[in-house]
């Protein structure tokens, strides 16, 4: 790549190629975020039910009251747990697809992993209520096998149910980036390690794992970000009144407290951007775009 060429294209052409995406990003992504961040410092106007440009930190103070800060932390905690569990499941799953399967079987497996996306998230989450409930499939099996005398209550309407529902829903987000990295590993590197006598675990831990690490981190982040933003699983599977940042924003919007809703959104977005920047700095996510094993 030279200074005036991008992937073989003259830089000017490359710029024009990227321009539509750039415009969309700025108009529909960046600008709203800046406005929301700005308005979060404005004040609620009870006379108009809207906001007025009176600068104030009221919303950020309110964010620290009534347990709102703990909702942010709790959302991050549940999302972190979900992302960690998804990643733990995704690595072996992606290894089967990327390392141990032929092309046709790999394609089939990837298609199977995307099945959760074929139906609406609401239906998916709701279905777990029928599986985990007091008269659900699992409790029926446990009782009929004599493992439990009475229905296990914590299976549903609990953090366990929420994390389970989110992992089932968002696991593909963790698998796909790793599978993509597997596809880019130079097979000669693996063959060389085998020629040198490395067993599967030696080869996997010393060669493959470092190469797919950016995919693992990317998958973790994908799941984390999606889980932070969801409310369905928490509303349908969580305990009485379980909350998340999305639910809290909805609650606040119901009472037209726009500045507070904007403040919550701003804190979440800035936190997520910071997380991605830190992850990139520490774990070199940019390697996702490099050649592997060469």
């Amino acid at each position: 790549m030279t200074d005036d060429k991008v992937a073989g294209l003259p830089a000017a052409n490359a710029f024009f190629l990227a321009l539509p995406s750039l415009v969309v990003f700025v108009l529909m992504g960046f600008t709203p975020l800046v406005l929301i961040a700005t308005w979060s410092f404005w004040s609620f106007d009870p006379d108009t039910y809207w906001i007025k440009p009176v600068w104030s930190l009221t919303s950020y103070v309110a964010l620290l009251q009534d347990g709102r800060a703990s909702v942010l932390l709790r959302t991050a905690g549940l999302a972190g747990l979900t992302a960690a569990a998804s990643t733990l499941l995704a690595v072996p799953a992606a290894t089967v697809v990327g390392l141990l399967s032929g092309r046709r079987r790999a394609a089939l497996l990837v298609a199977l992993f995307t099945i959760p996306f074929f139906t609406s998230g609401l239906v998916r989450a709701f279905a777990w209520r029928l599986v985990l409930g007091r008269e659900g499939i699992i409790n029926n099996v446990l009782i009929s096998l004599g493992v439990a005398d009475t229905p296990v209550e914590w299976l549903l309407f609990s953090d366990f149910a929420v994390v389970l529902g989110m992992v089932a829903a968002y696991l593909p987000f963790a698998i796909i980036p790793i599978v993509l990295l597997f596809a880019r590993i130079d097979q000669s590197v693996i063959r060389a390690s085998q020629d040198l006598g490395a067993g599967f675990w030696m080869m996997f831990s010393t060669i493959v794992l470092p190469l797919i690490m950016p995919g693992i981190i990317a998958g973790f982040l994908f799941v984390f970000v999606v889980a932070v933003g969801t409310s369905m699983e928490i509303q349908l599977l969580g305990g009485a009144g379980a909350s998340s940042t999305s639910i809290m924003i909805n609650d606040v919007m119901r009472v037209v407290n726009f500045p507070l809703a904007f403040a919550i959104a701003t804190v979440v977005v800035i936190s997520l951007i910071a997380l991605v920047i830190i992850a990139n700095g520490m774990l070199k996510l940019s390697r996702l775009f490099e050649e592997l094993g060469t």
Partner: protein
Amino acid sequence: MTRNRWNNPFQGIQSQLSRRQLIENTALGVGALAVGSLGLPRAARAANEVNFWATGTLDIGDDGWEIFMNESGVKVDFTDNGNDPGPVIAKLAAGNANDIYDVGGLQGGSEKELAKRGLISPWDLSQIPNYTSLWQWAKDIPYLTYEGKVYGIPTVINADSIIALREKAGNVDSYGVVFDPKLKGKTAMEDAWINSVTFTAIYLKNAENTKIAEPGNLTADELGLVMEFLIKHKKDGQFRTFWNGWEQGLQLVVNREVWVMTGWEPIVYAARDRGVDCYYAVPQEGYEAWGNNAILLKGAVNRGLSKMAHQFVNALLAGFYGCKLGTRRGYLVPTDNNVAYATAHSAAFDRAKVKELGEHVKAKFSSKVYWQNTRPDNFQLYEQWWQRLRNA
């Protein structure tokens, strides 16, 4: 969402936008994620067309609206407003709802706030002859008027209480059962302060003699008492869950996840259809009454559609709409015109059933009722307390 039971940015660009207009229009583009879908201005429409923006419950379907048009001369374009008063008010206050819709249908309580801010207009009752047919207690709903003018026309009315599984809960006649430690983990309430706080206030006022003046409009002190009570019971593990929407509520009953819960009467009928032995309790503390009221949006008046809007609301009370809605949803328009219409159109409607529905609701209202209020004076304080409850 409180009662979802069943279940522009591109307006004419002005050469000089004020800052507020600029903010509002930009906000509509930006705030779509938070406030929900915004809708776009409609194409040119017929002179007799009214855009009715209301709770899905009030929809009588294309076939119903067609007959409605033939009988009233008003063509209705129905849009579900989602029924959550918060976003509806937000779209009226900061969005473009007034540019699009003519008549709203909303859970009662917000009329005063909307009228105060000039977002809705008063109805001219002389243009609604059928208004006189409304049952008096429906006309007397406290929040329909502001400064002596009528802003809300009761379109649907009912009263809610407790759903109970007969085999598990026995005979229930008090909200106290929802808070009974013997049913710990087997009870539920709605995930909405509008309903759950009101139910709890009704219980505390009547069963525990707590000093509460109006359960639908609590003072800060009263609200504190009610919420501390709810928080204590939540911490004790009393509630299995707080539910949202028709499907969730029904599933809790059908799968016996909860044995008693505050909820909507149609859930009982649907659960019975699925073989569940449940019933709707008659609570000694009284019902939580609610009304879904027609409001005249200011935009309709500005567009010269006031007369058509009045003609539309008059037709809502004429009888056909009440019969159709009762048949389709089991909800009642509080007027005797329903029975009169069913009598005159016996091939289309079962008069006995129409009459039975009316008598059933009348019977509820003959006992003690407290009106639900979607916009109590301290509504933002309600939300703060609800957060504390969520986190308890």
